[in-house]
């Protein structure tokens, strides 16, 4: 590991001195119940700690004010941020107001069953510009498998209310490759998702994560061909409906790409606050520990919350940038990111129709985007 960047690297190569980050992630961990597939940092009890928690988050922002610049994006993720109720979110956004750019994108993850029209209006009034609604599926069988509480109707109602509230962008999250999800289920989800007229869709392949209820049940993922069929179908249907497939799992109508997530994928520095939040700036990746009680206690006592720091050397950062950039339809800007470990592989892959070079940009072809890990493995030495 090289010297932490903000002390200035000795050789000085490719390790910029950290400027304050323009992107902030805030983790709001409370949920009513843990869904069967979810491995996020979540707490399902102790809702009476919500005021303390918001206060602690504001303290952490203050503590780390040197790291946080004028914010171009703010992302309130969860957990279930909407369980915090609009007034706590408003309080947090007020505390950030001084450092929020005028045209900032402010996203809140919203669980459809927790919001109504009035609440969405209040969020809009508090400065939220974008909502991302967790639908996951519209099929009762699939929702049951996932242990999701929001019904298809609740999702549709939430989208309508969000529209009326006047957000700049309304998006939904969906899942495929759910064990037991049939081709007909998928077609149903595609049709209903498109009928909603949302601006943004994140359509993730379900990962069966260790420790989740789904994993304990011994659920098996579909085989590669079935998962590929579903994925290809989703990409085809959404692009045909006018969405841009701008990132591996993300689709947006023109002008509606998620700016905050784009910051992740272009490896821009960002700060994460709250339990379990992760941020990367100046070659250091910081991960706050989980545990609301300990988090609140530390900040109340004026201490830093528990966290771990991973130093990323120049090569690791370059490899991550390639890994992330290859996810994007726009690809990697080699003039910013640096060369791959195996520049010859670029020629081979280009000859094989897997990538396109366009000035300093390297983009994967449509087909190659489905096998981007294999492509990344050819270009880069991912070595522990």
């Amino acid at each position: 590991m090289t010297t932490p960047a903000h002390t200035g690297a000795p050789g000085g190569v490719d390790v910029p001195v950290a400027a304050p980050a323009r992107h902030l992630y805030v983790h709001l961990p409370f949920c009513a119940h843990r869904c069967g597939y979810c491995a996020f940092v979540v707490e399902t009890g102790g809702l009476d700690r919500r005021d303390d928690y918001i206060a602690a988050v504001i303290c952490e922002v203050e503590q780390r004010c040197a790291e946080i610049g004028v914010l171009d994006t703010i992302y309130l993720g969860g957990g279930t941020p909407t369980l915090m109720r609009p007034r706590r979110i408003a309080r947090l956004l007020r505390a950030l107001a001084d450092r929020t750019a005028r045209a900032a994108e402010v996203t809140v993850e919203a669980n459809p069953e927790t919001v109504d029209g009035a609440q969405l209006d209040a969020l809009r009034a508090a400065g939220v510009t974008r909502v991302s609604l967790g639908a996951q599926s519209f099929r009762p069988r699939v929702l049951e498998r996932l242990e999701r509480r929001a019904t298809a109707e609740q999702v549709e109602a939430a989208v309508r209310c969000a529209r009326r509230a006047g957000f700049d962008s309304v998006g939904i999250d969906l899942l495929f490759a759910v064990p037991g999800q049939t081709a007909a289920d998928l077609e149903g989800d595609i049709a209903r998702a498109l009928a909603l007229g949302v601006d943004h869709v994140s359509w993730y392949e379900l990962e069966i994560k260790p420790g989740t209820a789904l994993e304990r049940m011994g659920a098996a993922p579909p085989d590669e061909d079935d998962a590929a069929d579903a994925y290809e179908r989703i990409v085809d249907a959404l692009t045909a409906a006018g969405f841009e497939w701008y990132e591996t799992a993300n689709f947006a109508r023109p002008g509606h790409r998620a700016r905050h997530n784009m910051a992740y994928w272009t490896a821009a520095d960002h700060v994460g606050v709250g339990v379990g939040a992760v941020g990367t700036a100046g070659g250091l990746r910081r991960r706050n520990a989980p545990g609301v009680d300990r988090y609140v206690a530390a900040l109340r006592a004026g201490r830093e919350p528990a966290h771990a720091v991973e130093a990323l050397d120049a090569d690791t950062r370059r490899r991550e940038r390639w890994m992330l950039g290859l996810r994007l339809a726009d690809g990697v800007d080699t003039s910013r990111v640096g060369p791959p470990d195996h520049p010859v592989a670029l020629d081979d892959l280009e000859d094989a129709g897997m990538l396109v070079r366009d000035g300093a940009r390297v983009r994967l072809t449509h087909r190659a985007r489905f096998v981007q890990n294999a492509v990344a493995g050819r270009l880069m030495d991912f070595a522990a």
Binding site: Y25, G77, W203, Y204, E205, E207, E224, D225, A227, A228, Y231, E232, T248, A249, N261, Y264, W265, H270, G272, G276, A277, V278, G279, T280, R285, R287, E310, T316, R319, E320, M323, L324, R327, D348, A352, M354, R369, F370, V371, Q372, N373, A374, V375, A376, G377, R378, M380, D381, F382, A383, A384
Partner: protein, 605 residues
């Protein structure tokens, strides 16, 4: 050694079919003679290599000296050599026999005579050794000492009363074995006063001592510090330290005629010393060297390639050192288009190949890739040249080939009578020609001449499974015979991969080609591109399968908190690829190169 004369020395080895209890008998002898304390004792103590202990078999012959005070009140020096029983290592047995005057022939009293019992008896008789027959495992309820005792006596032309009955496990009867050794095995007959002649019967490279030679002194003697001369290689060797194995290395001042021991040669370079060579004194040379050993002929060959090309020099070094301890291993550099630089190695059989590879990997910390094994072929070209072919790649083109000959072995199978049909059927399927058949005790000895190439595949496994484990097998090279053989090439994505080629009988080529590509299709994982796999003979495609291209290799979700995890996933994926060999654009797992060995079954269906 004080007061030891040749008259009180006995040199013998323990020979038997695999698993009949040689090493266990050696344990008891070491114990009774006090060579090993109770505390140090463990089962099959002479099987000191990790591999031997894990597999429960002896791989290397092992010499050890013990002292035994017999009922006549005289203390004898016993030099015993425990030998391996597996057919691949019969060369170890013949080398050991050359250092002895007698042999303990161990036969499992519950199983009786097996194929290697016969083979070893013939070797011992050929070397003119005194054979002491011993029925072992009489503690087993299914032991039948009466029946098997008569059969063994018959085999060696001895009186059934002379067949000892023991249990090496419980120790019962082992004292009688020691008395018989002293009484029946003649003392060595060297000339203590003649110029030194010592036979090098084994050697080893020791990290600290350098090259160590194990010798049997036939005439004369060695004193520590003597200057020695190797009669074949002309090498001068200072006998800086000499000693005996008991079973640890114990230095002594002198080794005399009739004794066995070791010499720390001071040689640092391996490859100079030759097993079978005769050592004499530099300043008082013997006139004639000892007969030495016949050259062993390797039976199977395969390419060994370092998985990491940078390890090539280390592999050469490891092969040099290992050959010193394994005189039957031969090797020469080989270059493969697909696999880069490596060595073509010759082995005594598949077990030997497996063991050598594993020893190289473990003892020398290498990661190796072994290609499909093959036998040695002889080719007469149209221009009249005779060529020896050790790999399919070396086979001359069909239009310049006049004749191809392949090695044949005479196979001896011993089997209970109700399995005769199954054995004959298998031998016929594998291109065997019947030679003869005769009963031996309650069993049938069936002899076939078979192409060695057929044995090298899974013949032994098939033999065992079709006779419910009752058959035993021995074989010996009988020469080369003309055969209609062709080279079967394998093409991955249109390019021939030399390391996957094989030489097959023309009538079996289609079936094997088909089975091979099917097998490869299952072994090679999906890649970024579709990979056609083809089998071809002389440019004509005879079978084809396809490994489909990967269709999805992504991790769908990746947000800020996920980047490290995602990167680690790619790292893990890369780690997995290290077990693969990159052949052109294709990643081929190591097992693929051994696919050929297991396609026999498929070929029949």
């Amino acid at each position: 050694m004080n007061g030891v004369t040749e008259q009180t020395i006995r040199n013998f080895c323990i020979i038997a079919h695999i698993d009949h209890g040689k090493s266990t008998l050696a344990d008891r002898i070491l114990q009774i003679t006090g060579a090993v304390s109770e505390r140090e004792m463990r089962d099959q103590i002479l099987d000191s290599m990790d591999l031997e202990r894990e597999r429960g078999i002896t791989i290397k012959a092992q010499a050890v000296r013990v002292h035994y005070t017999a009922s006549d009140g005289v203390t004898y020096q016993l030099n015993l050599i425990d030998t391996p029983g597996h057919v691949d290592f019969s060369y170890e047995v013949s080398r050991s026999l050359a250092a002895c005057e007698g042999a303990l022939l161990v036969v499992d009293a519950s199983q009786g005579i097996e194929a290697q019992t016969l083979a070893n008896v013939y070797l011992a008789i050929e070397s003119d050794l005194e054979i002491i027959p011993v029925l072992n495992k009489i503690d087993l309820p299914q032991a039948d000492p009466e029946l098997h005792g008569r059969a063994v006596a018959d085999l060696i032309g001895d009186d059934p009363d002379n067949v000892l009955r023991i249990s090496a496990k419980t120790g019962e009867g082992v004292a009688d074995v020691l008395e018989a050794i002293v009484a029946r095995i003649p003392p060595p007959e060297g000339e203590p006063a003649a110029p030194l002649r010592a036979l090098i019967f084994d050697s080893v490279y020791d990290q600290y001592r350098g090259v160590v030679a194990f010798v049997r002194i036939v005439d004369g003697g060695i004193r520590s510090g003597d200057k020695l001369y190797a009669m074949q290689t002309g090498l001068s060797i200072p006998a800086d330290q000499i000693g005996i194995m008991s079973p640890r290395m114990v230095p002594v001042e002198r080794l005399d005629a009739g004794e066995t021991g070791y010499i720390v040669t001071g040689l640092k370079a391996v490859g100079d010393l030759r097993v079978g060579d005769t050592l004499t004194l530099a300043h008082n040379r013997a006139a004639e060297p000892l007969p030495g050993y016949r050259d062993v002929k390797p039976m199977v060959f395969c390419g060994l390639f370092p998985v990491d090309a940078d390890d090539y020099p280390d592999l050469r070094d490891a092969l040099e050192k290992l050959s010193l301890n394994d005189a039957s291993l031969v090797w020469e550099p080989e270059t493969s288009q697909a696999l880069g630089f490596g060595f073509r190695c010759g082995f005594l059989g598949l077990l030997h190949m497996d063991i050598v590879r594993e020893r190289l990997e473990r003892e020398y910390n290498l990661e190796l890739l072994a290609t499909t094994p093959n036998v040695e072929y002889q080719v007469r070209t149209t221009s009249g040249d005779e060529v020896e072919v050790h790999s399919p790649a070396e086979l001359p083109a069909p239009n310049s080939t006049e004749v191809i000959r392949e090695p044949y072995v005479r196979c001896t199978v011993l089997v209970p009578k109700d399995h005769i049909g199954a054995v004959m059927e298998l031998c016929q399927e594998r291109r065997g020609t019947f030679v003869t058949m005769e009963p031996i005790e309650n069993r049938q000895q069936i002899i076939y001449d078979m192409p060695l190439a057929e044995i090298v595949m899974d013949f032994y496994d098939q033999l065992k499974s079709r006779t419910r484990g009752y058959a035993s097998l021995d074989y010996d090279l009988v020469g080369y015979r003309e055969s209609p053989l062709v080279k079967l090439d394998v093409l991955l994505a249109g390019d021939p991969v030399d390391a996957l080629s094989m030489i097959v009988h023309k009538d079996l080529a289609y079936a094997r080609g088909k089975a091979l590509v099917e097998r490869l299709q299952k072994t090679i994982p999906r890649q970024m591109f579709e990979v056609p796999i083809q089998a071809a003979i002389g440019g004509k495609i005879i079978a084809r399968e396809t490994v489909k291209a990967r269709r999805k290799d992504v991790l769908a979700k990746c947000y800020g908190g996920d980047i490290s995890r995602k990167r680690k996933l790619l790292e893990k994926q890369k780690e997995g690829k290290k077990r693969m060999k990159q052949v052109g654009r294709i990643e081929v797992p190591q097992e693929a190169f051994l696919s050929v060995l297991t396609i026999q079954d498929g070929a029949k269906k």
